[in-house]
Amino acid sequence: MTTKVLAIDDSRTIRNLLRVSLENAGFEVHSACDGQEGVDIFPEVDPDVVITDINMPNLDGFGVIDTLRSGPNRTNVPILVLTTESSDKLKSRARASGATGWIVKPFDDASLVSVLRRLTGHVS
C-alpha cells in the first residue's frame, strides 16, 4: 500500500517541488491547481493525506478544509496547510478550521516527509 498525497497549490513550482520531494520518499502524489479542483478530485483520488496552499483562486485553503471537514462527505483525512506565514494566529486559525497541521514554506524535504510520516504512518 502506498500512501497517497493530494497536493493542492496554484503554484506550479510548489507542485513540482512537492511532487519531487514526496515521490522520492515513496509517496504517490496527485496534484490540483486550485482549491476547487482539489475538492473535485478528492473522492476519485481518495488520498491518505491532503496538502493545501492557503492563498488560491476559486477556493482557498480554508475553503478546502471546510468542504472536506463538513457536509455529507466529511472526512477525517489529515490535511496539512502550506503557508509562508508561521504566525500563531494562522496556526490557531488553521487548527480551528480543522487542519491537521501545517508546513511553513520554504520547506525542506526532510521535515516535510517527517511531518507526513507522522500524520499518515507512511514508511519510506
Binding site: 513540482n16 483562486p57 508561521s86
Partner: protein, 710 residues
C-alpha cells in the same frame, strides 16, 4: 525532474505570474475596489515569494514580501489606492520583474533602487507595523542540481533564530517524561491519530503506553465520533523537552496534555504495573515487510493543472524542418511523375493532391505550435510607456488591442527591441507636453495605442499616438541639412515621412533622455525586414502618427511566384506583387542613358532589371518577351521588376542563407525546388534600393511620385 528543471519551471512560472501582475495592476487602475483584482495581484506576488523561498532567493523574497504586505493591506481595506500608490505598485511590479530576471540570469542588480522602493512601500505600513514574525528560514533544497548562487544578500529583516535547542545535550542526560494525554473529539476530527503521535514519540526514545479506559461510556451511550480514551505515556529519551512539544505541536488545544519529568526510570521498566488492559501499546516501527514493497510506480497526475505540454523548442524546430523537407519531397515527387508523362495518371494525381494537402495540414499544425499570443510582449510595453513618460515629463497611457493575436515565437522575440524603440519614440517625439495638449483642446494624458490583428494572411501591428503628427517641414529641413535630399527636389508627404527610415536620420531637435541612443528608425526597419515584414507610416497633423508593421504569419514558408531571371530560377514573394504586365514596346521608354520606364494607366513607373542588378548575364536578346512585375514597396514607391518569365505560383519553404553563409543584398533567403535545386528568394525592396544606388548620381534621391491609382 531535476532541481535545475524545477528551477527553470519556477522562472517560467514567474513570467506568467509577472504577466498576471501587470494585467492585474492595469485592471486596478480601472477598478481599484475590485477585491478579486486585488486578490489576483496579491496572489501573483505571493506565489513568486513562495517559489523564491524554495530556492533561497532571499532578495526576491524580501522584496516580494514587502510588496505583498502592502497589497494585503489594500485587500483588507486598510489602505485605499490613490494615484501615488498605484504608481508605486507599478514600479514595484517592474522591480519584481527585474529581480526575477537578475536571479534567473544571475546578473548583478543595484540594491539601491529596490531599497528605495522597499522604503516607499514600508511607509504605507505605518511605524508600528505589527507585521507578524516573518520567519523565513533560509532553507535551500538539495535537489541534486546546482544550487543557484544567491545574489548579493540583503539581510532579512527578521530571521528566526534557528539555532537548535539543547545542542549540548549528550546521551548521558536521558530523562523520563510522564505524559498524560486526553484527546478531544476535535483531535480526531482534525485528522489526527493518537497512535501515530505515539510512533513519533517512540522515535525519540523508549516509550511505554498505558491506556485508561475508565472514561469509556456504557455501550448504549457510546458515540463513535466521540473521544473517550485517555493515555498515560512514559518516554525515556535524551532529547530535550522541546522535541516532545514538537510532536504535540499540531494537537495543541485539541487535547489535554500534561508533561512532567518522571523520576529516573527503574532499571526494569518492563515490570511497570500494567493496568487492566493486556496490550502494552509500545509500538516499534511498523513491520519492515510493508516498506519492502517496491516503490510505488509514479502515477500520472490525476488531473493536470492545465492540459498543456512543455516541449523543448529545438524539438519543435526539428519537426518544422522535417515537415519542410516533406513538402519539398512532395513537390519533387509531383514533378518527377509529371516528367514521366504517364498515359493515365488521373487517380495518381488525386492521390498526390491528397498527399499535398496532408503535408500542408501537418505543416500548419506544426507552425501553430510556435505561435504565441502577443500579450506578454504588449504588456512589457506598458512599462516602457511608464518609464518614457517619467523621463520626458509627458503623460501617457498605453492601450492595447488584439492581445490574443498569435504570432510566431521568433517574431515576438525579435520584435521586442523595435517595438520598445517605437513606443519610446511615440512618447518622446509623438506626444506633446501636457500643457500643449491642453492648449490644443486635448486631454493632458496622451494615448499610445498598440494593436495586433491578423489580416489576409499577415500579422498587422500598429503603434499609434494621438500626438501632434510629424513635423514634415522639420524632417525635410533636417534631411536636406544632412544631404539626404537634394535641395531642389520636391517630395510628397508620404515621401517625407519615409525619410525617417533613412539611415542616420534622427528627428529629435535636442537629444533627450530617451533618444540619442544611436538607434534610429532605420534599425527598426531593418529588424522588421529581417523578419520578412515591412513597415509604413501615416501621420495627420494634430491627430497623431501611426506606424504599421506587416509581418508574415510564419517565418518558415511563403507564397511565391517561381520566376526565371536570365538562366536562373528564382522566387518572388507574392505579397509584394501587385500585378504582372507583359509590356508593349510602345509603353516602355528610355530616359537618359539607361533608365527605363513603363507607362501604366497613364503613369510612368521605373523599370528595374533584376538580372542586371544581380550581376547576371541577361542575354538581352529576349527583352521583348520579358515580363514586368509591378511591386509596391514601402520606401521605394511603385516599381516594375523586369524578369524573364513566370512559371508557377507555389508555397516555398524558406531556407536561411545566413545560417551557413551570409546575407546577400537583394536576396532574402533561398528555397529548394521540386527538382532539388536551390532557388533564391528575391527581396524586391532591397533589390530596387540596390538599383537606385547603382544609378548615375543625382537620381538616387528622386523618389517616384506615388501614382494615384494604387
Amino acid at each position: 525532474m531535476s532541481g535545475n528543471a524545477i528551477r527553470d519551471t519556477f522562472f517560467e512560472e514567474c513570467e506568467e505570474l509577472l504577466e498576471a501582475l501587470v494585467e492585474g495592476l492595469a485592471q486596478m487602475e480601472e477598478a481599484p475596489d475590485d477585491l478579486q483584482v486585488v486578490n489576483a495581484v496579491f496572489r501573483a506576488v505571493h506565489s513568486i515569494k513562495g517559489g523564491a523561498g524554495a530556492f533561497a532567493l532571499d532578495r526576491l523574497v524580501t522584496f516580494a514580501h514587502t510588496f505583498e504586505t502592502v497589497m494585503d493591506k489594500v485587500r483588507d481595506r486598510d489602505l485605499s489606492v490613490d494615484d501615488r500608490l498605484m504608481a508605486l505598485f507599478h514600479r514595484s511590479g517592474d522591480m519584481l520583474s527585474d529581480l526575477v530576471a537578475a536571479a534567473r540570469d544571475e546578473t548583478p542588480l543595484d540594491p539601491a533602487a529596490e531599497g528605495e522602493l522597499i522604503e516607499a512601500l514600508e511607509s504605507y505600513l505605518g511605524p508600528a507595523s505589527e507585521e507578524e514574525e516573518f520567519s523565513f528560514d533560509a532553507v535551500s533544497l538539495d535537489l541534486g542540481g546546482d544550487t543557484p548562487a544567491s545574489l548579493p544578500e540583503i539581510p532579512l529583516a527578521k530571521i528566526a533564530d534557528s539555532a537548535p535547542d539543547g545542542a549540548a545535550t549528550g546521551p548521558a542526560s536521558e530523562k523520563t517524561y510522564r505524559i498524560r494525554f486526553t484527546p478531544t473529539r476535535a483531535l480526531y476530527e482534525n485528522g489526527h491519530e493518537p497512535l501515530l503521535l505515539f510512533d513519533a514519540l517512540a522515535e525519540l526514545g523508549t516509550l511505554c503506553v498505558l491506556l485508561d479506559l475508565s472514561g469509556l461510556p456504557s455501550f448504549d451511550a457510546f458515540d463513535p465520533q466521540d473521544s473517550c480514551l485517555d493515555w498515560t505515556l512514559l518516554l525515556t529519551t535524551a532529547e530535550p523537552e522541546t522535541a516532545l512539544d514538537e510532536v504535540f505541536e499540531f494537537v495543541e488545544g485539541l487535547c489535554t496534555l500534561e508533561i512532567t519529568t518522571a523520576p529516573p526510570p527503574a532499571p526494569t521498566e518492563a515490570e511497570l504495573p500494567t493496568p487492566d488492559l493486556p496490550q502494552p501499546a509500545a509500538r516499534p516501527a511498523p513491520p519492515a515487510a510493508e516498506s519492502a514493497a517496491a516503490p510505488p510506480p509514479p502515477k500520472p497526475e490525476a488531473r493536470g493543472p492545465k492540459p498543456t505540454l512543455r516541449v523543448d523548442l529545438d524539438r519543435v524546430d526539428r519537426l518544422i524542418n522535417t515537415v519542410g523537407e516533406l513538402i519539398i519531397n512532395q513537390a519533387m515527387i509531383s514533378q518527377r511523375i509529371e516528367e514521366l508523362d504517364l498515359p493515365t495518371v488521373a487517380h495518381l494525381t488525386n492521390e498526390l493532391e491528397a498527399y499535398k494537402l496532408l503535408a500542408r495540414d501537418i505543416q500548419e499544425g506544426v507552425m501553430a505550435i510556435r505561435a504565441q499570443p502577443v500579450k506578454p510582449l504588449f504588456q512589457r510595453m506598458s512599462r516602457i510607456v511608464r518609464e518614457a513618460s517619467d523621463a520626458t515629463g509627458k503623460k501617457a497611457r498605453l492601450v492595447t488591442v488584439g492581445d490574443s493575436t498569435e504570432v510566431d515565437k521568433t517574431v515576438i522575440e525579435r520584435l521586442a527591441d523595435p517595438l520598445t524603440h517605437m513606443i519610446r519614440n511615440a512618447v518622446d517625439h509623438g506626444l506633446e507636453h501636457p500643457e500643449r495638449r491642453l492648449e490644443r483642446g486635448k486631454e493632458a494624458q496622451g494615448t499610445i495605442r498598440l494593436s495586433a490583428s491578423h489580416r489576409s494572411g499577415s500579422v498587422f501591428i500598429e503603434i499609434a499616438d494621438d500626438g501632434a503628427g510629424l513635423d514634415r517641414a522639420a524632417i525635410l529641413r533636417k534631411a536636406r541639412e544632412k544631404g539626404l535630399v537634394a535641395p531642389e527636389v520636391e517630395l510628397t508627404n508620404p515621401e517625407i515621412d519615409n525619410l525617417l527610415f533613412l539611415p542616420g536620420f534622427s528627428t529629435a531637435n535636442q537629444v533627450s533622455n530617451l533618444s540619442g541612443r544611436g538607434v534610429g528608425m532605420d534599425v527598426v526597419k531593418n529588424a522588421v525586414q529581417a523578419l520578412g515584414g515591412r513597415i509604413s507610416i501615416t501621420s495627420i497633423p494634430e491627430k497623431g502618427t501611426t506606424f504599421t508593421i506587416v509581418l508574415p504569419l510564419t517565418l518558415a514558408v511563403m507564397d511565391g511566384f517561381v520566376i526565371s531571371v536570365a538562366k536562373e530560377t528564382m522566387v518572388v514573394p507574392i505579397a509584394s506583387i501587385l500585378e504582372t504586365i507583359r509590356p508593349n514596346a510602345r509603353d516602355t521608354h528610355v530616359i537618359g542613358t539607361s533608365s527605363e520606364v513603363v507607362k501604366i494607366r497613364g503613369s510612368y513607373v521605373p523599370i528595374v532589371d533584376v538580372a542586371a542588378n544581380l550581376g547576371l548575364d541577361a542575354g538581352d536578346a529576349d527583352r521583348g518577351g520579358s515580363i514586368l512585375l509591378l511591386v509596391s514597396t514601402e520606401t521605394q514607391g511603385l516599381t516594375a521588376l523586369r524578369v524573364t518569365g513566370i512559371h508557377d505560383q507555389r508555397q516555398v519553404v524558406i531556407k536561411s542563407l545566413e545560417s551557413n553563409y551570409a546575407a546577400i543584398p537583394g536576396v532574402s533567403a533561398a528555397t529548394i525546388l521540386g527538382d532539388g535545386k536551390i532557388a533564391l528568394i528575391l527581396d524586391p525592396d532591397e533589390l530596387i534600393k540596390l538599383s537606385r544606388l547603382s544609378e548615375p548620381e543625382g537620381t538616387e534621391t528622386k523618389l517616384m511620385p506615388e501614382p494615384g491609382h494604387v
